[in-house]
């Protein structure tokens, strides 16, 4: 699956003043890539992720996924596209407190009216993969942050999506649990060949990616892959920028 953004601009009206969260942004992401999108706060990272995931539409330009222009899809078609192709992982997990772990993971499958038996099998498999098979009947609020994020990842994988969009997946976790989550994402990328796009401003997290896209003021500042260059140097320069 190829993700392409062409001259994408996203403008918000802040009071009376228009604010360009993204400005004529162009990127291409190939199937099977693990991409980290980095940048300072307010750079437009999360907005980009929302546009790629079809949660929102660009003000100008287009987002193409396998040559399908998102803005040409109806609201319902976009929802169905999201349901079958995109898995979301959020910084604050976004789990439903009134549903059990098992039910939370099953949500995309319930939305798709998958048979009960298949839901049961698939959810159990995912929870086992995440090491949460014993917490299936628990409610999210009794789990640790790391466990909750693993539930969120399991939910993101439930519909067997073609790419995973993770917005600061380690932002609410301590170093140890953050590392666990990143290792899990890397494993999914390596073993299951999932396309992963991860927004982060954590240098260590970005270090797990194959490619790092730096965004500043709504535009791509740099786009580097491991094969092409020294990602460590990029990270160091980002660090310097970030500290400044």
């Amino acid at each position: 699956m190829m993700i392409v953004t062409r001259q994408v601009t996203k403008t918000f009206i802040n009071g009376k003043e228009p604010f360009h969260a993204l400005h004529q942004l162009n990127i291409k992401i190939q199937k099977g890539e693990f991409v980290a999108i980095m940048g300072p706060s307010g750079a437009g990272k999360s907005t980009l992720l929302q546009l790629i995931g079809g949660l929102d539409l660009p003000t100008e330009g287009e987002v193409l996924i396998d040559d399908i222009a998102m803005h040409q899809l109806s609201e319902k078609e976009r929802t169905l596209f999201r349901r079958r192709n995109v898995g979301f992982v959020f910084q604050d997990y976004q789990l439903i407190s009134t549903l059990t772990v098992e039910e939370n993971v099953a949500l995309p499958l319930e939305a798709d009216h998958v048979s009960r038996l298949e839901i049961k099998t698939r959810v159990l498999k995912l929870l086992t993969l995440m090491g949460l098979e014993n917490q299936a009947q628990q409610f999210p609020n009794v789990l640790s942050g790391g466990q909750q994020q693993r539930v969120a990842i399991a939910r993101a994988l439930a519909a067997n999506p073609r790419f995973i969009l993770a917005d600061e997946p380690t932002g609410n976790l301590d170093r140890k649990r953050g590392t666990e989550i990143l290792q899990l994402l890397t494993k999914l990328h390596k073993e299951e060949r999932h396309t992963i796009i991860m927004v982060t401003h954590d240098i260590l997290a970005a270090g797990y990616a194959d490619r790092i896209i730096m965004i500043k003021d709504g535009s791509v500042q740099s786009d580097t892959t491991r094969e092409e260059g020294d990602t460590d140097a990029i990270l160091a320069s980002f660090m310097a920028e970030y500290k400044r």
Binding site: G53, L55, E75, T79, F90, Q94, L99, A111
Partner: protein, 826 residues
């Protein structure tokens, strides 16, 4: 001042929530004001009606032969202690037409009340238009307005003799008075239109020169009552047929079921308050739950629990103030409209003034105090939140023991309500119901789950699961709605039972004839010769004021009957009244119907005070009876009536016949009789039914209003629910739920709320009705347990429909949020 400003800003920032909270206060204040004002206004109106009907004159002179010579009027006027006197001659004539009558249902008869002096203080008539003349007819405002009749218009009578005038011209329009029993509504043909005419005109029409039916007198207050009576008796002593008695009310006002109506109004008013409080509780609960994090931060920076309480209460008080002001306006409009409808039911046109002062004061107190009481529990909980507890956003601890206590109190309330023989029983019943509702909610929820799933599919199952886990918010709405449905079903079942009773009672083949004065032997003779009359009995039936225990006012009129003959009219009554025949032989004893008995507030053996022609009489209550819907009656022996009460003359005739309708027509055609009214049992039942329909119509309207209020409660809950779960709904949209699926989730919740309210409301409503029957709420009154199937379906459809409708707006709002925005919503 700064803190009030902050509170005001919070209110403005959360507009939807603030509006819903204000709405809840408006509901509580408006329903309190409307209820109190309506009850007080009706009471005042009945009091002034009683005074107007009863206290107009002091003495009445009539003849046992019916009519008597007009010359006696002069003799009586000259008697010691008499201030003024008016002679009267009343009779019913068939009406041809009224010029300008614009009503579809024309009057068939006219009751001409001929009086010797239209301007007499005895009548106290107040002219609005035109003037009294020696030949013109006098109508009241209500007839003028209802029929479009003005001064100068003609009223045509059907010619009965060559001498009879074919028409009368309207000379004056007077203010409405209880002396003319004209309705403000275009009633059916059973009622004649009442008018005044000069006595000479009445005599000319009936062709009975110099005859009158009664003389009404006002006495000089400086002369003792006994002295006046003696001098009047002296004046008429040469004619043994003439007799003197104290004035009695001359009214057909039938204020039936008023006690029930008051109680229903109070229950519904209380329900309004309860609903308002529930909504307040629910809104503030969600509000403080959402803001627990803010409160914990406030605590962390040094705020005390009391300061946090004050912080929330300031907002509540500000909202209560705004809500109370709006509520008073809404309540006043509601009260005025409903009062107009209510008095129309009683069919009288006497003016009334709305009693609003006390109601407004009480409503303001309720409007400010109740919100504070209603929100105290969530506010207290919020202020006690520990800093770390809220910051970690851990869900609350189990409330197991508290729930169990609530369950026990609830059950006690419900059991207690079974032993209360009063409409007030609904109060503990509703409180009990509210306390055990969580358990009922779960039980009923389980039973309707398959249906919910069938209708809403997977989304239905999901919402059902979620509701079971967060039932608290939804339960409030469901409880409110179930109260409304309970009342609806109960009132409907009660109404159906009453209708059925009336249907069954209407078969007695009699015609009742009420005379303006005593029935003479000649008149009985005359009646017995009419074709179709099998047998005649006469008895006494008079309206007398009485006062409930613990009050000082003679507020109501009792229809006092001689017990010996009353049963002929009503077969159901005979077996009951027979039990007391021997006991009633003891002087100064009375049997009351249950309506009066309950309103009176005493018990058997207590003293019942009655204002009689012989002064205030104290009668011992020896029992109670039921008389179908014809309530507001008392029964004494003929001896008590004659000797103690001073009403020795029978004024009612019961004519037994095979064909009551035909006999009534024959009697109406005999125009020269001083008959006040003629009715068959089916007429009485028809009128009772009509009144019953109107009364229940008003009650139902008020209940539908409370159901509407419940709908606002549901909308409030659903709004709060969508706000509270905005992030979750946003997330669900993100992971692939379509808008329609989210709408289905919300609709399914609304369906569950409505369906549970319908099931519980119907069960409790029918249960209450069943208890009413077996507990003998009306004891021997044959109330039957009837399941009003049509109303059950209507109530269920209303409950579910209103719940779904109330959910549409919040659902629309929820699905139109941008997903990114919803997911960030705090």
């Amino acid at each position: 001042m700064q803190s009030w400003r902050v509170s005001w800003r919070n209110i403005k920032d959360k507009k939807v929530r603030s509006i819903l909270t204000i709405l809840a206060i408006v509901i509580g204040v408006a329903s309190t004001l409307a209820t109190i004002s309506m009850v007080q206004t009706t009471n005042k109106w009945i009091h002034s009606f009683t005074v107007d009907a009863f206290g107009r004159f002091d003495w009445l002179v009539s003849s046992e032969k019916g009519a008597f010579d007009e010359r006696w009027v002069k003799e009586l006027q000259a008697a010691n202690g008499v201030e003024s006197a008016v002679a009267e001659m009343a009779f019913v004539r068939p009406l041809d037409r009224i010029e300008g009558d614009n009503q579809e249902v024309p009057f068939e008869n006219i009751r001409l009340i001929g009086v010797s002096d239209l301007a007499s203080p005895v009548l106290d008539l107040k002219v609005v238009e035109g003037q009294f003349t020696s030949s013109g007819l006098v109508i009241d405002q209500v007839t003028s307005q209802l029929r479009g009749v003005d001064v100068g218009d003609r009223i045509y009578l059907k010619a009965t003799s060559p001498n009879a005038s074919s028409y009368l011209e309207v000379a004056a329009i007077i203010e409405n008075t209880s002396q003319l029993n004209n309705s403000r509504q275009a009633r059916d043909r059973l009622y004649p239109v009442d008018v005044f005419v000069p006595l000479a005109v009445a005599q000319q029409i009936t062709n009975v020169d110099e005859q009158v039916h009664a003389v009404m007198l006002i006495s000089d207050k400086s002369v003792s009552s006994d002295q006046v009576k003696r001098s009047l008796e002296r004046a008429i002593s040469s004619d043994p047929a003439l007799y003197v008695q104290r004035s009695v009310a001359d009214t057909q006002l039938a204020v039936r079921g008023l006690g029930e109506l008051y109680q229903t109004l109070y229950v519904i008013g209380g329900l309004g308050l309860l609903i308002g409080s529930f909504i307040m509780y629910s809104t503030v609960y969600i509000n403080v739950t959402e803001r627990r994090r803010d409160f914990s931060i406030m605590k962390a920076v040094g705020y005390t629990s009391l300061q946090i309480k004050g912080h929330i209460l300031r907002e509540v008080v500000l909202l209560a103030f705004i809500g109370s002001i709006i509520g008073i306006g809404v309540g006043a409009i509601l009260a005025i409209q409903l009062q107009e409808m209510l008095l129309n039911v009683f069919g009288n046109a006497l003016p009334y003034e709305m009693a609003l002062k006390e109601a407004v004061i009480l409503s303001i107190i309720a409007g400010i105090l109740l919100p504070v009481i209603a929100v105290w529990s969530p506010v207290a909980k919020a202020s006690e939140t520990s800093i770390s507890y809220a910051l970690r956003r851990v869900d609350k601890q189990s409330e197991g023991p508290k729930r169990k206590i609530a369950l026990m109190i609830g059950l006690l309330c419900i059991i207690g309500s079974l032993f209360i023989d009063h409409m007030i029983t609904f109060l503990p019943l509703f409180i009990g119901l509210a306390l055990i509702f969580p358990y009922l909610f779960r039980i009923v929820h389980w039973t309707i789950r398959p249906l919910n799933r069938l209708i809403f599919g997977r989304e239905g199952s999901m919402s059902s699961k979620q509701m079971l886990r967060t039932s608290r918010h939804f339960m409030t709405s469901s409880t409110i709605l179930s109260f409304g449905i309970t009342m609806l079903i109960y009132i409907s079942a009660l109404g159906n039972s009453f209708y059925m009773n009336l249907e069954q009672s209407s078969s007695t083949p009699v015609v009742t004839v009420k005379y303006a004065n005593a029935i003479s032997n000649e008149q009985v003779q005359e009646l017995s010769q009419i074709q179709g009359v099998r047998q005649i009995s006469t008895y006494a039936s008079y309206f007398l004021p009485w006062k409930p225990q613990h009050t000082q006012h003679w507020t109501r009129l009792l229809e006092l009957n001689s017990a010996e003959q009353s049963f002929i009219v009503n077969q159901d009554l005979s077996s009951e009244l027979n039990k007391y025949t021997r006991l009633l032989e003891s002087p100064n004893t009375i049997v009351l119907d249950r309506e009066v008995f309950r309103e009176w507030g005493g018990k058997e053996g207590d003293i019942f005070e009655l204002e009689t022609p012989s002064g205030v009489k104290k009668l011992v209550v020896i029992g109670t009876v039921g008389w179908g819907m014809a309530n507001n009656n008392g029964f004494v022996s003929q001896r008590t009536l004659a000797e103690s009460i001073g009403l020795p003359h029978n004024n009612m005739a019961i004519l037994e016949t095979d064909n009551p309708t035909l006999l009534k027509e024959t009697l109406l055609a005999k125009h020269d009789m001083p008959i006040k009214s003629i009715g068959t049992m089916s007429d009485i039942m028809f009128l009772s039914k009509q009144q019953l329909e109107k009364t229940f119509g008003i009650i139902n309207l008020i209940i539908y209003l409370s159901i509407f209020i419940a709908a606002i409660g549901i909308m409030n809950t659903m709004f709060m629910n969508t706000v509270e779960y905005a992030r979750e709904l946003g997330m669900m949209r993100a992971v692939g739920f379509t808008r329609w699926q989210v709408v289905k989730l919300l609709l399914s919740k609304a369906f569950i709320i409505g369906a549970i309210a319908a099931v519980i409301g119907i069960l409790v409503g029918l249960g209450s009705m069943y208890l009413t029957v077996i507990q003998g709420y009306y004891l021997h009154l044959p109330i039957q347990f009837i399941i009003p199937w049509k109303d059950l379906f209507a109530a269920a459809a209303t409950s579910i429909g209103i719940s779904l409708l109330a959910c549409l707006l919040p659902a629309y709002r929820a699905v139109n949020w941008s997903i990114a925005y919803a997911m960030k919503y705090e």
